[in-house]
């Protein structure tokens, strides 16, 4: 039982961790026919599944979709999608910017994007969940971007409570 001592609680507001996941490839499937866009996407995703390729960070675009895979799987993914127009860029990293209750923090997305761009990194894709903003950037810029984010949001190390 507690002796009544003070206990600290709750994650800090705003950004509380920045992580880098390296060794990824970003693939963009483009030029799918507008009149059968979703069936074409499903067919392409089915081919990836049949090839046993785990994809991550799926985003739908006006003429296809984008996703990331482990860099080692990039050529397999492209091969599975043969016959489809695919742009695959290797040497990519995923920046995960963690923030408690991100959807209660208006303006945080702009600040994060601004910070990443100020580091010189180019944002190729962006996504969000309730507690994280995800950005695909070039691997060789990812650590600079992470350092800039940590500096701009007052994080000393990788995590802050």
């Amino acid at each position: 039982m507690s002796t009544g001592s003070h206990t600290s609680f709750e994650r800090r507001r705003g950004v509380n961790a920045v992580r880098v996941r390296d060794g990824l490839a970003h693939l963009q499937v483009v030029g799918l026919p507008r009149e059968s866009l979703m069936p074409s996407r499903l067919a392409a995703l089915d081919r990836l599944k049949q090839a046993g390729i785990k994809i991550d960070f799926l985003k739908l675009t006006s003429d296809g979709f984008t996703f990331v895979v482990d860099e080692k799987m990039a050529s397999d993914a492209a091969a599975a999608l043969v016959g489809t127009e695919v742009m695959a860029t290797t040497g990519r990293a995923m920046l995960s910017v963690h923030c408690a209750n991100i959807r209660d923090e208006a303006g945080i997305v702009g600040k994060i994007a601004e910070s990443v761009m100020a580091s010189g990194a180019r944002i190729e894709q962006v996504g969000d969940s309730h507690d994280c903003i995800l950005l695909v950037v070039e691997s060789d810029r990812a650590n600079d971007a992470a350092a800039r984010l940590r500096a701009d949001f007052g994080l000393d190390g990788d995590d802050a409570h």
Binding site: H6, T7, F9, M38, R103, A106, G107, V109, E114, V126
Partner: protein, 452 residues
Amino acid sequence: MRIKVLKFGGTSVELLAQRRQAALKVIQAKEQGFAPVVVVSAAGRAGSPYATDTLVAGLVEVDSSLAPNPRELDMMMCCGEIMSAVLFAHLLTVLGHPATAFTGGQAGIVTDDVFGNARIVEVNPADILHVLQEGKVCVVCGFQGVSNPPPGAVHGPITTLGRGGSDTTASALGAALKAEAVEIYTDVDGVMSADPKAVPDAPTLRQITYEEVAELAHLGAKVLHPRAAEIAMQHNIPLWVKSTFTNDPGTQVVSGSEATVRRVTGLTTTGQVVYLNFVLPPNDEARHIEMEIYRLLGEQDIVVMMLGVGPRGFGLAVPRTDFGKVRSVLDGLVMPSERGRRFHIVQIGSVRSAATEAQYDLLSKSAGDADIRFVVAETTENCTVVSMIAYNYLDQAGVYLEVLRALDDAGIPVWQTSDSAHSISCLIPETDARRAIVALHSHFELDKLTMG
């Protein structure tokens, strides 16, 4: 001393008959040898005489054009819980179980100084422990605390914890008191695989992880607040969600290592949103325009979600309640190029508004040979987000495909997706929300998801 925290929501404390049923749960815990600490919400939901919304409406009706001071607003918002706590403590005393009511501040809950959405920074439960040691029940007002005194003051002002604040109070007290269990009582049997209004036979989950329940809560399930789940997880407090009105065992929230690995846990829908797809000029200014739009929306406190970048531009969704504000901020906005005589005018929707036309006319006349381009935001109104919460779902190939195919088979368009470590979300037409839940519930066989 074995401590159990029992939290009762508004529907459990609205009327005397309901408070009696809630009180029986407290007495039962006491008879089992626990020292009970009760956390109560304000009585009833919107429309009830002492519900928080009703109390705030009393302030607003003084002069609807003048927003109440946040400090005073928080004081008003606390009143419902204070009434509930006093009524509940008196009821327990009348039933032969002496009880003492506490405000959040008296219970030792100290918050930061953000009125309306304060976060708990520390809890000092010494006074609660003192009363428990006397053999009494403690009844604590949920949703509130006090912040540290501002410079020059002796006492800190009352603060409220924002949405789901009473759940957060319960978890925080459970952690501070090292309670054996925190039980969140509500008007359903526990955490269900989907909203029973959409899926009447949605099963009650017997066991769920902290991560899953936090994800469910974040993505729209109203049974437990995510902050409460996070505090319980951080302090490893055994957490239960149960019904005040039945003897169903409810849902036990456990750590990931204790849970049976499951593929899909539940389905939720979140909010009413408008999707905007900004078509950007194919030049190197596109990213700066994107940044400026994010910045301006943030300045107006507009939350953006369902982000994505495509070959023609970028997309985002905003709450429908904010769409008017988005239109007023962005429609007709002129963005001068950093490269001299080029201007971009933002156009919201496929038809140019009077504001946009006026800006174009003005620029055409005043800037002579300037290069004027439009950044058109194609809008899709009446959207919602349907989410599937799944544990380690990314470990399997083809999950995105299964989700999209289940929705496509049901004839439901998907405009964008997003994901987290434990969920995948799809932006769909709001009118299809219920059908989407039914389709996914059936496709992933959630009706079979009864045990842990």
